[in-house]
């Protein structure tokens, strides 16, 4: 990375570097919970997706959901990480109203996935972010404090839902990198189908570790952990605010206390939740209700066969095979639906035009209407038809935009629109010549001016001819014939 792109915070001739590590909690895509058969569907009536195990009734025992194990392994493979053949589920003990067991089943010393990496495509090149580990754990229920004035209500629908905690190394250095990292992680998991990455529904949240140090320093500073931040924007805001808070302390000659903090989104500041001294003693120990998890090489090999082409590989293929620029390829592979859409469109149409239309007109519409590509108002099939109409000269690029605007309304077939509205481009030289003759006749004064040297008027004639053709005249042909007529 070049020097000038470094993210540094300046203070009176001093430059501070920000060190960031993320613990991302990603909800495993699975029909049922990690240790019970209850549904994980989002948005159900409170406490309707709760089994006796989830509510920790006496004598109830956890039974591992093998599908969640496979999802974690799959994610590990996607992160180019080591899959641990033996891992252990531990109990993390603490009391809270929405934690029915009085402990969370998690993995402490022996996680299911070890070290891996994620490649970030930054504007000035690639950067590798190390993954420390990925482990499986249960989510807690939800405490609701604002419905009843006197009581806290508890919804256990989420209790026991499988989460993957993905811990990065402290390799991130700026809010931008955090943005790209989260998006890349989400993209990989969506390619794999292991987490839907839906931040609104809480499927992806993160604890953000932040420390600062003077540029050039090699030791890490004291870090603070900002708990449970649920959007990229808030993560970025929290990092900037927290880094500045730490730098202010250092500038005042004070020390930074290692502590857990919360981000107040309204005030745009972090505040202390608990200090290191007050840190919970979770009394981790191996859950005696569950045997150590043993994973066979056969299972890993079987899962490997299911791994689709991932964003990095797909990007390389798009560049090599379709001659896309790295920038275009990065955009098109960023999420699996986009790349699938792209590949569907180019099955029967021109790659260059498809790239431009998807990243241009289509993205603009999606943005404007706040839609995902999976909800695109124009299907891949109809977009490729439109591109073919442009390519074979049936319509001009300009007309195509008009057609596209109409296609948006109910995914209409461009062939029908062009036919019904008579938008087909006029490419018959005789017809063009006729209408040019008409223009010349009607504007004899301008013709005289042009001939006397006013070259700029050429554009006027093109405009008039186009107008005469009701916009359907082939622009190249109009140009050519006009030149012949006026200069001849």
């Amino acid at each position: 990375m070049s020097k000038n792109s470094e993210y540094l915070i300046e203070r009176e001739n001093k430059q501070y570097e920000v060190i960031i590590g993320l613990e991302v909690h990603a909800q495993v895509t699975s029909e049922s919970k990690l240790f019970s058969q209850s549904s994980t569907k989002f948005g159900a009536e409170p406490n309707t997706q709760v089994s006796l195990v989830d509510a920790a009734f006496p004598g109830m025992l956890p039974v591992i959901n093998e599908f969640c194990i496979e999802q974690a392994i799959k994610t590990g493979i996607g992160l180019k990480a080591k899959i641990n053949k033996k891992s252990v589920f531990d109990r993390k003990n603490y009391f809270y109203a929405d934690l029915p067991q009085g402990y969370q089943i998690s993995q402490y010393k022996y996680p299911i996935v070890g070290e891996g990496k994620v490649i970030l495509d930054m504007p000035n090149g690639q950067k590798e972010i190390g993954i420390e580990r990925l482990h499986l754990e249960q989510d807690a229920g939800k405490s609701i404090h604002d419905i009843d004035p006197n009581n806290t209500l508890v919804d256990l629908n989420r209790s026991g839902v499988a989460l993957m905690e993905i811990v990065s190394k402290p390799d991130l250095r700026s809010p931008d990198e955090v943005n790209v990292y989260i998006k890349k992680l989400r993209s990989i998991m969506r390619y794999l189908g292991t987490c839907d990455g839906n931040m609104q529904e809480g499927s992806l949240r993160a604890d953000v570790n932040v420390s600062v140090r003077l540029k050039g320093e090699t030791e890490f500073g004291t870090r603070c952990e900002i708990k449970n931040v649920n959007s990229i924007k808030f993560m970025q805001m929290a990092i900037i605010s927290e880094a500045n808070r730490q730098i202010d302390l250092l500038e005042e000659g004070k020390e930074i206390d290692q502590e857990t903090r919360l981000f107040d989104t309204k005030r745009n500041e972090t505040r202390s939740m608990r200090s290191k001294e007050d840190a919970h003693d979770y009394r981790y120990f191996p859950d005696p209700d569950l045997l150590p998890l043993e994973i066979s090489q056969e299972l890993i090999e079987k899962i490997k066969l299911d791994i689709p082409e991932l964003p990095d590989e797909k990007k390389k293929r798009f560049i090599d095979k379709f001659n896309l620029s790295p920038y275009e390829a990065t955009i098109l592979v960023s999420d699996i639906e986009t790349s699938n859409f792209f590949e569907e469109v180019i099955k029967n149409s021109d790659v260059k035009l498809a790239t431009n239309w998807i990243t241009g007109e289509l993205f603009a519409v999606l943005n404007e209407k706040n839609l995902e590509i999976s909800q695109s108002p124009v299907s891949a099939k109809n977009l490729s038809k439109l591109i073919n109409l442009i390519k074979d000269g049936t319509i001009s690029g300009k007309i195509a935009k008009t057609v596209f605007e109409q296609m948006i309304d109910g995914d209409q077939d461009p062939l029908i629109i062009v036919k019904e509205k008579g938008l087909k481009q006029e490419s018959d030289p005789k017809a063009i010549e006729e209408l040019i003759n008409k223009v010349i006749e009607n504007n004899s004064d301008k013709v005289a001016e042009y001939k006397s040297g006013k070259d700029k008027l050429f554009g006027f004639f093109v405009g008039q001819a186009m107008k005469e053709s009701k916009g359907k005249g082939n622009p190249q042909l109009i140009n050519k014939i006009l030149k012949e007529k006026l200069n001849g």
């Binding site: 006496p58 039974v63 809270y96 402990y103 806290t152 005696p288 209700d289």
Partner: protein
């Protein structure tokens, strides 16, 4: 025909099969006796009305192929029973009625048995005398003001007092074998993983096992056959081929090698226990078994190891009793206060003691010194047995270092109480099967038991040895029915 309630399971079965007795007659006989035996305090919750209905239902269309055809059975109140209050002997579950059935009790009902009621036990199975129960202590039918042992004290007393033909208990450190020994009955703790823990109120998950408690070894073999099963709802349940224990039961133990561990000769062991053991050895020889001296060098560490591992697991297992979801709640101004009041008022002293010990040994800074070390010692204890079982087929020891003691005698001395389990806890730590059979009496005429320990999944072998010894010992419990009221 002898009195109904004094009959063994096999006698009752044959009387039912031969239509000499109906399920209703048997059920009513046990209920009648229970009504006159309230002084023993064995029942926490009875199920008498429903039991009579079910016995009538059985009689109307009896399935005689069942292994427990129309047999009424009371069970320890640690097994969750659908629609019948389950307390674990605790105030905190005083009002708890499960909507589900434990696998082990379901296995009983699936073979035709009928639930008579729920039997008293130490609170959350923590105790060796049944004195920690919220529902009061149980009287040992052997003698007034004697403890029946614990934690399955209601169960042992009920079998000894003919209040249930057989019963099931749970054993974490001796909770089946010690009360069996104190009441002159038979109690077997199966190999860890044999009987499902699903639906049993958990004490220490890596040690808890359900097992049969009966009047004799043959009944024990039949009950084990019924309750032992692989269960996918318990991840520690083990899928292996289980014997037809009662069918394969045999007194032929000729040539069996029986180990005698020298470390079980503990200091201050009463002479009568020593004598009991010697007699057991002689009987085994009489049966043609070969006696081999063995060593289990880490025996001394078993009790301290147990009193780290079991409370550690318990401290976490009991965290769910917090007043939020079910059971007893003492209101507070806020969540923390509600927790504190609920758990202070809902749990008894012994349970609180163990929660505190367990919390302490798992705490950061102490974990390595206590819990982790205890787990390592546990492996050594297990290895002792593995080594021993390369030389012998089974091990013979006393079940307890003393006979039943007086109610209140040890309540202020937890360590002396814990020492009661000195011969039984190593077997739980090693996950092995162990059975206690009545083998003699002390100077007060109180029963004493011998313990036979087997290899993992070798229940058949220890049942056979016990069956042979039982025959030689010819123990007779003389119980005077002193508690009966009109």
């Amino acid at each position: 025909m002898s009195d109904i309630t004094s009959q063994s399971l096999f006698e009752l079965k044959s009387n039912i099969k031969e239509k000499k007795l109906s399920s209703e007659e048997i059920t009513k006989a046990f209920i009648n006796r229970a009504e006159k035996s309230k002084k023993l305090n064995v029942y926490v919750t009875d199920n008498f009305e429903k039991a009579i209905d079910q016995s009538k239902k059985f009689d109307s269309n009896p399935n005689l192929d069942f292994k427990l055809p129309g047999i009424p059975i009371a069970v320890k109140d640690l097994f969750c029973t659908n629609g019948v209050r389950t307390t674990a002997g605790s105030k905190i579950l005083n009002n708890f009625v499960p909507t589900y059935e434990s696998t082990v009790t379901q296995n009983l009902w699936s073979q035709g048995a009928i639930l008579l009621g729920k039997l008293n036990c130490d609170e959350f199975a923590m105790g060796s005398s049944n004195e920690t129960s919220f529902f009061g202590n149980v009287q040992n039918p052997v003698g007034e003001n004697l403890v029946p042992g614990g934690s399955s004290g209601g169960s042992s007393a009920a079998v000894a007092a003919n209040l249930t033909p057989v019963t099931i208990g749970t054993d974490t450190g001796g909770s089946i074998r010690q009360p069996a020994s104190f009441t002159g009955t038979v109690g077997l703790k199966p190999t860890y993983g044999s009987c499902s823990r699903y639906g049993i109120v958990a004490f220490a998950s890596s040690l808890d096992q359900a097992g049969p408690m009966t009047k004799n070894v043959r009944d024990c073999s039949m009950l084990l056959e019924v309750i032992s099963s692989f269960d996918q709802k318990d991840s520690t349940s083990i899928d292996y081929k289980r014997n037809s224990y009662s069918k394969e039961l045999s007194k032929d133990i000729k040539g069996k090698k029986i180990g005698i561990p020298k470390e079980y000769r503990v200091d201050n062991m009463p002479d009568e226990i020593e004598q009991l053991w010697k007699n057991g050895i002689l009987y085994a020889k009489d049966c043609g078994a070969e006696i081999i001296d063995i060593s289990l060098p880490h025996t001394n560490y078993a009790l301290p190891t147990y009193y780290i591992v079991a409370p550690a697991e318990a401290s976490s297992n009991l965290a769910r009793y917090d007043g939020v979801k079910y059971g007893f709640r003492s209101p507070g101004q806020n969540l923390i206060e509600m927790y504190e009041k609920t758990r202070s008022e809902g749990f008894g002293d012994e349970v609180k003691r163990r929660i505190m010990i367990g919390t302490y040994v798992l705490s950061s800074g102490y974990y390595d010194a206590y819990y982790l070390k205890a787990q390592k010692v546990r492996q050594l204890i297990k290895k002792d047995f593995d080594d021993a079982f390369s030389k012998v087929d089974a091990i013979l020891t006393p079940s307890t270092p003393s006979s039943a003691f007086k109610i209140g005698e040890k309540t202020n001395d937890p360590v002396s109480m814990y020492l009661n389990d000195i011969f039984t806890v190593p077997i739980n730590l090693a996950g092995l099967p162990g059975i206690s059979i009545p083998a003699g009496k002390d100077k007060n005429n109180y029963p004493l038991g011998l313990q036979v320990i087997g290899k993992p999944f070798d229940e058949q072998n220890i049942l056979n040895i016990s069956y042979a010894l039982e025959d030689k010992i010819n123990f007779k419990n003389d119980i005077s029915d002193w508690w009966l009221s009109e």
